[in-house]
């Protein structure tokens, strides 16, 4: 078992989305994809050091695409039909596609609907089995106002990303007992997004 290292880490919130400028396509994305893209953006330098086909992406979307699903349902009687763009984001894995397109990543990918507790373990598996040389680990947690009553969770919009790879030392070595991604992101004092 080779050692693995966290070489970059970042977080993003709704406030970052409001001021972000990531190309003219950014505006059409759902909030979860926007947050995922923003939180991965500071990892770009580390991503460029590895060929895109050797970088995996593992995403955990806490509530899947539920905010977009609800929006889609509410708009089902709209004149002219529902927004085709909205439809494309009724997939929890949509954010993986956006990350892959922006950074040219074509390695394996995996999407969890739920919390992020298994993200780092799966990333480790991908690296230890030589399926990839680096893995972008992302969690998104978006609860829209429409959802708060439905699922009894407070409104929120946040995301975090970790880049895990064999080459270190980076920020820290990934230990056996430290695989809670969200607490790691919080503890690593993630660099704020720079515009």
């Amino acid at each position: 078992m080779s050692k693995l290292f966290i070489t970059a880490c970042s977080t993003a919130t709704r406030a970052d989305v409001a001021t972000a400028r990531l190309g003219n396509r950014f505006g059409r994305m759902d909030l979860a994809s926007q947050l995922a893209l923003l939180t991965v953006e500071p990892l770009a330098e580390q991503l460029r050091a590895i060929p895109g086909h050797r970088i995996a992406i593992v995403l955990a979307a806490r509530v899947g695409s539920l905010p977009t699903d609800v929006e889609y349902w509410k708009g089902r009687h709209a004149v002219g039909g529902l927004s085709p763009t909205l439809f494309t984001y009724t997939l929890p894995s949509a954010a993986i596609g956006e990350i892959a397109i922006r950074h040219g990543l074509t390695g394996p990918n995996l999407c969890f609907v739920g919390d992020s507790k298994d993200v780092l373990s799966e990333a480790v598996e991908l690296l230890q089995t030589d399926a990839a040389d680096g893995c972008v680990c992302v969690y998104t947690h978006v609860v829209s106002p429409d959802l708060t009553a439905m699922i009894s969770l407070p409104e929120t919009a946040q995301a975090g990303a970790i880049f895990l790879q064999r080459n270190g030392p980076g920020l820290m070595e990934l230990g056996e007992n430290r695989r809670d991604m969200e607490s790691l992101c919080a503890n690593l004092r993630a660099p704020k997004l720079t515009k």
Binding site: N24, F26, G27, R28, V79, T85
Partner: protein, 86 residues
Amino acid sequence: MAIATTELKAQIIESLNLQDITPDQIEDDAPLFGAGLGLDSIDALELVVMLEKNYGIVIKDIEEGRPAFRSVRTLAEFIAARRSTS
């Protein structure tokens, strides 16, 4: 009745949620797809929805809309032609 291309450009920007683009940055004859504005197939469907929503124009066959979606000018001409026959 002719439609102002400036107005149409604003509607395109709004319906496609294009960021950092203003109507005066879009040339009347520049291709909407590919090298020009860089729109894609999802945007094409979104424009079809916009035409129905804003102008009551229904495009049932995408082949019918293909020449219209070449540029802002061809789209404006298409809208004007469909309005004159309705």
